[in-house]
């Protein structure tokens, strides 16, 4: 039997969560709503929660008559490569920061922190100047390179904190059992860090997927445009084609959703429970 007071508290608690979720998801809902609203109803119906007539025309147009599939492919290549390269580098780096003491560690960490302090806008000109003679502007690999460089420091700190959470005893036990340090890392520590790696992967993927500033500045041709840059092409000098833009936005959400569905099982923590006294 739940006492009325506790029931009231529980209800209030749930209502607060519900309110927050509604608030957070409302823009998403609006995105979907506009993407299925026919152009003739967009301005004529006023503010309505759902159009009187829904259509998939915008989606069809975006997929068949725009460069969106190309942008989409470019974004995929850039984001997936960035996510995997960053996760690999930050896992190795994070492990080193977590487990080893070495000369210059303090300064390396300091420098890594320093890279996080500048507003990116300040760095665009010098980066453009550097990449241009190397032929890396207007190319996907140039973009990947820049994204990796800017994501590695933060991801390394993230991974370091995951490694810090795994008791040192485990790899010591493995080394006494007959493993080299690298084998202990690969067979014992890495499987336990999967949630951390999934989180890093997801974090970097989304960051690269939605990055606009560098993509806009470093890429000028349609061939190498990523999808955030492509979205801007729906804004012309005289009008904004909201319906198509939102349809493209909805489509762009799909890979991010699929990606998180794939890694969500690793995001759930608790894999290390039972390793040491718990």
């Amino acid at each position: 039997m739940i006492r009325p007071k506790r029931l009231g508290m529980t209800l209030a608690h749930r209502a607060a969560i519900l309110l927050y979720i509604a608030f957070a998801l409302f823009p998403l809902y609006w995105l979907v709503k506009v993407s299925v609203t026919p152009n003739d109803l967009l301005y004529s119906e006023g503010v309505k929660m759902w159009p009187s007539r829904a259509t998939l025309d915008h989606f069809a147009f975006v997929l068949e008559h725009s460069d969106f599939p190309l942008f989409f492919r470019n974004s995929m290549i850039v984001s997936v490569s960035t996510a995997f390269i960053v996760t690999l580098l930050s896992s190795i780096g994070g492990y080193a920061l977590s487990r080893f003491t070495f000369r210059g560690k303090f300064w390396i960490v300091g420098l890594m922190l320093l890279t996080q302090m500048f507003p990116l806008v300040m760095l665009i000109a010098p980066i453009f100047k550097m990449l241009s003679p190397l032929g890396l502007t207007n190319s996907l690999s140039g973009l990947v390179l820049v994204y990796v460089a800017f994501n590695v420091p933060f991801a390394t700190f993230l991974m370091q904190s995951f490694f810090d959470g795994i008791p040192k005893d485990l790899e010591e036990a493995a080394m006494i059992d007959g493993a080299t340090r690298f084998m202990a890392f690969r067979q014992i520590i890495l499987p336990l860090t999967l949630p951390g790696m999934a989180a890093t992967l997801g974090f970097v993927f989304t960051a690269a997927w939605s990055e606009l500033l560098f993509a806009l500045m470093l890429i000028s041709g349609v061939d190498a445009s990523t999808f955030p840059v492509g979205l801007l092409s729906f804004v012309s000098k005289f009008s904004v084609d909201f319906g198509q833009m939102m349809a493209a936005g909805v489509l762009a959400l799909i890979p991010a959703c699929i990606f998180f569905l794939l890694i969500q099982r690793y995001l759930v923590q608790g894999l290390t429970a039972g390793a040491v006294k718990g």
Binding site: P167, E172, I176, G178, G274
Partner: protein
């Protein structure tokens, strides 16, 4: 199985010295317990034997071979950690077979080894479970099983029972002792618990502040502690210690505070007037009715343990602890007489801390 020789082993982290030169020889098949308060360097020494810490100077040999620069995996030792350090993503069977799989042992041999260990430790019904589905005692047994499957040269135990509750600790203590009697393996066991040290060890190495204080059989350390540290560390309730002055007159006596004079069994090999510390274990203090020969004391606290009674008595400005197996010897506020049997008295030089005689 192998012997372990430790020669002048030192450890320093930068300018902080942890071990100041340890010499120790552990015989093949011996069970040696390193005991001491936390921070005394016992765990560091064990980890140096395991190869988990570098040796700053000195030499460690396992089975005659110098292992200073060998990786842990090449030393052929097994270790049980305080935290158990079970691999959480592996089943009990996989945890136990990991070392054998790394050595590419044949499948049939692995199966035989782990089923043998499982039987010995009654783990057979748990073999497919993950560590998180086990209780503390079961995890402890898996950690032991992981150590015994591959018959290493030596077993190292780093406070393996500290995380268990009192009852289970007592039980596992017995299991470890039995296991050692079965396997006859060279074992080094680190603990801060002097009961564990007393019950398990063939030989105890008492350590303090990075130095070995005394090496000997458990009863040796208990009956003839080499210095004040060992005297105070071994035994519970702890030994009574009173500072005084040694007098050669009357066949050797110690003058304590307030003019109390305690006779000794005979003259001690030290100069008249030396500042000494007189030690006597609580169970050796005799408590009797007033009027009898002895020192007048006032009972200030009575602690019944069920097994016996700990009496605290105030005499000559000190707190004298006495342990009696009998109940109802005295109640708080009683005036009693306490006396120290001459053959039970330990004498230490207060300045150096070492035993006299």
């Amino acid at each position: 199985m192998a012997s372990i020789d430790i020669t002048d082993v030192r450890k320093a982290y930068g300018s902080t010295k942890i071990l100041h030169g340890v010499d120790l020889t552990i015989q093949d098949g011996e069970f040696v317990v390193l005991v001491g308060p936390s921070g005394c360097g016992k765990s560091t020494l064990l980890r140096m034997i395991a190869g988990l810490e570098d040796i700053s100077s000195g030499e460690i040999r396992i089975g005659g071979r110098v292992v200073n620069d060998l990786d842990p995996k090449d030393r052929d030792i097994a270790m049980v950690f305080q935290s158990y350090a079970l691999y959480p993503h592996m089943t009990v069977a996989d945890n136990m077979s990991y070392s054998l799989r790394l050595r590419k042992t044949a499948k049939e041999k692995i199966a035989a080894a782990i089923s043998g260990a499982a039987t010995k430790l009654s783990l057979t019904p748990l073999m497919e479970r993950r560590p998180k589905a086990l209780s503390g005692g079961q995890r402890q047994r898996v950690a032991m099983g992981r150590a015994i499957v591959r018959s290493p040269k030596a077993f190292l135990f780093d406070e393996p029972l500290s995380n268990l509750d009192a009852r289970l600790r007592e039980h596992m203590r017995g299991e470890i002792k039995k296991l050692h009697q079965d396997l006859g393996a060279t074992s080094i066991y680190v603990t801060h618990d002097q009961i564990e040290a007393m019950t398990l060890a063939d030989r105890i190495v008492a350590m303090n502040a990075g130095l070995v204080q005394q090496v000997g059989s458990p009863l040796d350390l208990y009956d003839r502690p080499a210095n004040l540290f060992v005297a105070g560390f071994m035994g519970s309730p702890a030994m009574n210690m009173f500072e005084g002055t040694y007098r050669n007159a009357n066949g050797g006596t110690v003058e304590l505070a307030q003019g109390v004079v305690v006779p000794l069994a005979g003259p001690a090999p030290t100069a008249d007037g030396t500042k000494v510390t007189l030690g006597i274990r609580p169970e050796h203090v005799l408590v009797g009715k007033t009027g009898l020969e002895g020192i007048q004391a006032l009972i200030s606290l009575v602690e019944p343990t069920g097994f016996g009674t700990i009496l605290h008595a105030s005499a000559f400005g000190e707190d004298v602890k006495a342990f009696s197996l009998e109940r109802g010897v005295a109640v708080r506020g009683d005036t009693v007489s306490v006396s120290f049997p001459v053959d039970r008295i330990h004498l230490f030089d207060t300045a150096t801390g070492s035993r006299i005689g």
